[in-house]
Each structure stands twice: as C-alpha cells, then as structure tokens.
Symmetry: C2
C-alpha cells in the first residue's frame, strides 16, 4: 500500500490483515518523514535507538495499535531512551528502571514508540527548541510542544502529551491537529513526572478524529466508537471561560465556523450562561497549580532553582507562599462546580463549544502562548477535544474545543466523529 499523511490507524490495520502492508511499513515511512522535517521542526528530544519489537504473542493486526508509530512527551519514563523533563541539561537521566505505565500499555497494544518529543521545562512555560510546522517563526504552543508539532508535521500519526493548564488543547489549536485531553484520571500517570497531581492528565494528538477514537478504545479496552448518522438531538451550548476575556476575531470566526458545522449536522445550538462562580475557576486553577507544583517539584527546586527558568521559579515560590486555606478554598470550589456543571450537562446541554486559545500561534519561540481558555476546564476534570476549525488572519490554524461532562468521553468523541464525517 501507499502510505500518506491521510492514512488512519484502522486503514493500516486492515492493510496489515489483508497483507498489503508489513508491520514496520509505517515506522519506516515516519522515519523518513522525520529525517526530512526534523531539521526545521525540531520536535524530538530523542529517537528510539532501535526498531522496537512487536508483541510476539499476538498476530499481525490483532491488537488495535499494531505497528502504529507513536511519540511520547519527554516527561514520560522509558528504559531505552534518556529523559530530560525539558530541562535542557541541568537534570536528566539515561533512562528509567521501568517504562511508564502508558508505554507498557501502548506496547501491549502493538504501538511502536518512535521517540521522546520535546516538552517545555517540566511541562511549564520555558520553551524547548520546537518550531510550529506551519510557520517555523512561530511557537507550536506548549507544554506538549514536540508531540503536537510531530503530528502536525506528519512525522507520526499519534503522539502523547499532558495537560495541567492548557498543554494539549493550546498546541493542538496552534498546530492544526486534534488534541484530546480525556477525563482526569482516565490513564495512569505512573512514570510521568507530576506537576500538579490533581490536574495532570495524559492525552494524545492525531491528524484524524478516527485515530483519536481508535486510541481511546484501545487504551480503555472500550468498544469502538462509530459515527452517528447525524447530530439531531445533540444540544450544544457555546461558552468560553473566562467570558470576560474579549475573543479575538480569529477565535470568533473559528467558533462561528464550528457552530455552523454543528448546525449543518443537525445539532441544536442552545443558550448557555455560566455564572461568576465558573469565572472564578480560572484563578482557582492557578492556585491549585502553583500550590501542587511547589510540592511536586520541591526536590528539583531545592537542588536546581538557580538553573530553572524564571517563570517556573516564580510559580514555585508563589505556591510556597500560598496558604493551605487558600488551596482548600480552591479545591472546595472545584468540587462544588463539578457537581453544578454535571447538572448543566444533564439538564441543558450535551456539549459545550469553547475557544481553545487566544488566536493563531504567536510569533517567536521564546514563549508558548497563554492557556487561559483551558484552565477552568482542566480544573473541572472534564474531557476536552480540540477540533481544527479555521484559518486565522495570517493563514495559521485556529481550533475550538468541545467539552462534555466527566466520564462522557465516549459521547464527546462520538459527536466529534459524526461532525467530522458530515463536514
């Protein structure tokens, strides 16, 4: 078969079963793409030192990610590659004693780990070396910079990142790919460096909504998620958080495009207002993130504060200065609003459509953009999916995110798959 950037995981599995593709074909294709694109994009911190083994106990194509090349963010442990946690040298390890749980889960599903993708420093704001594949003078976003860029550049069909504030949705929007942050707690973070334990969520990027769905089913051992005939009966509410942040024209256009596609697919756009308590979640997220990061990075701060990026030091010191009472206040507000939002989801809407980011990927590589539109949703633990939606005024991709209630990931993905099929 001819491999191209439009190939989906399902199609590759079919080709493997029919004998029209060999197990390492996609790997070699991706290796060639990396060779071509990496000098410009610089998405990779390390590449696999050798061709990974496929599970010996299974037949070709009998596990859902058989032969699928995958990138993983360089805050995730592997035994066979070094890890730098985005520190660019002041802290690193030649490899972990055991693979992170995610890596074993991927390998059991037949995936081939292609390499470690660039992360910002400990998945916070200090950027790595990665460029936006659509315009190398712009940031790919962060903190899952390399994973988003590698997928957008066609180097791998699938790559994993984490989101603590907006580290999946924002780079997905900037790079024009699907980025899925499942419900908090869906995948084990064993072997992933914690930043803020009650926020950190493993997610993945793909160029195809089909691949987002296939990966979800594979990793949760859940049934496949077929597209529906249309979106009749699906209630969509449009609401970005915080609402007091004026939306940029590019973002308004992306939301309008998405709204039109939802309407064309038969969904009903319904009014949705979220009160000031939801707005407050943006600040609560900052408190939780600072407080927890100052704990989780206590040892790193103790030894390496002098080498750390200034923004990270500021965050840790902010966290250290945050009172336990203020932290509890944020945690309580979160619990309460999770319940309140669940009622909104059961009574008023099925899906919320919201801004992913403030616009196109900003110019320059010295910052990764602002996660402002993701903070509240991440704090609430709800599943969020970036849909590439439109082109901004500079021709760069602009995405929107769609959101469902906690543990309604399957519904969210089904709506997205149906929408993409009908668009």
């Amino acid at each position: 078969m001819t491999l191209d950037p439009h190939l989906t995981i399902e199609n590759y599995q079919t080709a493997l079963k029919e004998g029209s593709a060999e197990p390492y074909d996609w790997w070699h294709y991706c290796a060639a793409c990396i060779e071509k694109r990496e000098p410009e994009v610089q998405a990779w911190e390390a590449l696999a030192p050798r061709l990974p083994a496929l599970p010996s106990e299974v037949d070709v194509g009998s596990v859902p990610l058989y032969g699928v090349p995958v990138g993983i963010k360089d805050i995730i442990d592997t035994t066979d590659m070094p890890i730098t946690w985005g520190t660019r040298g002041y802290l690193s390890s030649p490899g972990a004693q055991l693979n992170a749980a995610l890596v074993t889960l991927l390998e059991e599903n037949g995936a081939l780990i292609m390499g470690k993708t660039v992360s910002t420093e400990f998945a916070y704001f200090t950027p790595g070396k990665t460029h936006n594949p659509h315009d190398p003078t712009r940031t790919p976003g962060g903190s899952s910079s390399g994973s988003a860029a590698a997928v957008a550049a066609g180097m791998v069909p699938l790559a994993f990142g984490t989101q603590t504030a907006g580290s999946m949705i924002r780079p997905a929007s900037y790079c024009g790919v699907f980025g899925f942050k499942p419900t908090f707690g869906t995948l084990s973070c064993d072997g992933v460096k914690p930043f803020a334990a009650s926020l950190d969520t493993l997610g993945w990027f793909a160029r195809h909504i089909d691949d987002v769905c296939t990966t979800f089913s594979a990793l949760t051992k859940a049934p496949p998620i077929p597209a529906l005939d249309n979106l009749k009966g699906v209630r969509v509410g449009i609401r970005s958080l915080p609402v007091d942040e004026p939306l940029a024209p590019d973002v308004k256009q992306a939301l309008a495009n998405a709204q039109e596609r939802f309407e064309n697919a038969g969904a009903e756009i319904v009014p949705l207002s979220l009160d000031a308590r939801y707005e407050a979640l943006v600040e609560h997220q900052k408190v939780v993130m600072a407080y927890e990061a100052s704990q989780a990075l206590a040892s790193e701060y103790h030894h390496y504060a002098a080498q750390m990026g200034i923004k990270l030091v500021e965050l840790i010191e902010e966290g250290r200065a945050t009172s336990f009472e203020r932290y509890i206040e944020a945690k309580r507000a979160t619990s309460q609003m999770q319940q309140t939002l669940s009622q909104v989801f059961s009574e008023q809407v099925d899906i919320i459509l919201a801004a992913s980011a403030q616009g196109e990927a900003p110019k320059g590589l010295d910052a990764t953009g602002d996660p402002i539109y993701c903070r509240a949703w991440t704090l609430l633990g709800v599943p969020c999916l970036n849909l590439p939606s439109s082109q901004g005024s500079a021709g760069m991709p602009v995405g929107v995110q769609i959101i469902a209630d906690r543990w309604q990931d399957k519904k969210l993905l089904q709506v997205a798959r149906t929408l993409m099929k009908m668009s």
Copy 2:
C-alpha cells in the same frame, strides 16, 4: 533532658530552644531503641547510612520538626538509601535520582530521616518481615507495617505510610498508635510508587495526638491546632461501613469506650444512618483499586508477574478484566456520595466514629488483616484518624477511627486533641 517514649515534638523543640537538649539527642536515643528492639520487631528495610544534616540556614528549634527522627515507608524515594517497594528482592534500586517531595518537605522542616520502613509488596497484601511490637506472633497490619510497628515500639516518634484501602488505619489499630490519613491530596505523592492514583494518600503514625497535630501544621504550613476546652456542640454519629458486617465484641467495646469518652468530653452522640449507597462504596473501592493498580503496575506485571505474590497477581488480573464502564460507574458513585456525605457533615454530624479494623491484630505473619472498614472512607477521600481505644480479649490494642468531611482535617485533629486531653 531525659528522653523517653512520652516526649512530644513540641516538648523537644522547647528543650532545644532552652538548650537542655542537643539537635541529635533524639536521633541517638532512637538509634539505641532500634538497636534494642529491631531484632524482634524488624520494622526497617534500611537505616540511614549516616547522620543526616540539619538545615544549615535555620536556627536550632526554628523549624517545627527540628531534630525529629522519622521513618518513611519503603515505597518512597530517597537518594541515599535503597528502595525495594516491598518486593523482597525481585525489584529494587540502590537509590533514586532525587528525594520524594515528602522527604524534601520533611528535611526543610528539620526532620531527620531515620530509615526506610518495611512495606508489604507494592503496599498490597504480601507481608514483609515485620512483627507486631505488642506480640511478635501477630501481624502489625499492613501495608504500612514497618512504620506503624516502629512508632509503636518507640523506635521513632513519627513515621510515614500510605493508605489505598486500609494501610494506615488498620496497622495503627493493631499496633496501638495514632494513624492519620489526611484528606486525599493533602501531601504530594511525587516520588511515591503509585498503586491506585485516586486513592493513594500519604499519612503518618505517632504515639501522641500532639505530634499528629504538630506534623499536620508543619507540613501544610497551617497554624497550630490547640485543644478546645471541651467538645460541647460537637455532634458525633456512630457508623461503620459496611454496616452489614457484624462487629466483633472487641470492636464493639472499643467503640463503646470511645463513645463514652466523647460523651464525657461534652460531645453529643446523634443518630446517623447511611443508606445502601454508602454500603456499595466498599465494592466500588475494590473496583477502583483493581482497575487503577492494573494500570499503575502494568510494567512491573509485564516483567515480574512470575515473582509477584499471588494476591497481587490476582488483583492486577482482576483489574485488567474490569471494564472501563464498570470503573466509570464506581468513579461516578464516588463523586455523588462525596457530595451527599458533605451534606451529612454540614447538616447532621461533625464527626463520624467508626470501626478501624475487625478486632485485634490477627495471629501469624502470613497475612496483614482485612481493610474492610477503611475501604469506603478511603474511596470518599475523607480524613481518618485512628485513636487507640481499648484492649481486646487477648490484651492487644483495638482502635477506632474518627472521620470528618474532606478538608476538615483541622477540625478532626482539634476534636481528637481535645478528646485526648480530657480522657
């Protein structure tokens, strides 16, 4: 000053400030206790290879745990001691690249890490070598076996463990010490081997309620927790979960003793019934634990299943066979019951008094007892404190646990401190 097992952290700090004690006095006293008691109790997996340094930038007695010897469970990373995760050899590491966040936090507070205490295998059921200090033919409980036993035997005033089902409260009850599991998420688990990420909670054992309180204030940078004059106005509801488990006579007596002490202190015993949905939480906890453990230990299982204890293998295989839908059902029920219980705590009771364990520490070292009375509370994430309450029919300690709503740890500890002062 003369050191003895009744010394509290506060008294030691006073002695340090007054110059009647030297910074390493308690360390040397504990080292002598260990030399004497360790051959029988076997609480330690490793002892610190040298006298730890005290923070150079602070004055004697100016940080709250200055010079306090502390044991930490051997699933917690340190750079200077080996770690075995309770595997008794099939997996170990000579030391981690960085200390766990907890270790750095303790050191910043002036604590002296005495050593690594024995854990069951990955903090599940396969026992380590530790004996109950009150009767070496009996289990100390688990999984935080060594930490509970070390404190009970007077080897250290303070030791840290984790609870995923009943791994703090049960050994505390069996060993006759205070065991505190704070609200889920209070302390960072960075550098602690995960078992079930939404349950794992760091906690600590002490012989004095004062020390439990001092430690809480130190680690959360929260104000001290003074005892009240009495417990007038405090509503106490008595309810063990599951309720359909008939209470053993020893446990009934421990609960009756505790009730009497509460009444004598002025508290009001109020009726409390928790419906069948609370009973169901015991099974939901098992589901969450199995599902999450099968994820978190995926790599260990992949490499070492043949060497693992049979119960751990069974749990992991149960988790692998558990559907994502069943897991979600348990998570949703948990969220719902957390809200419902919060209402109970705001409207009906301040404190719940419940069984800690099924009775005295069972005979034999081949098992660590049953966490049945802790599972629901751990799933709910509420703070739980074991109070030594009475002697059982064989003369062994029997504890009870008191429970408050999430993030009401301070209130729980204040009630306990008042109760102990008045008893």
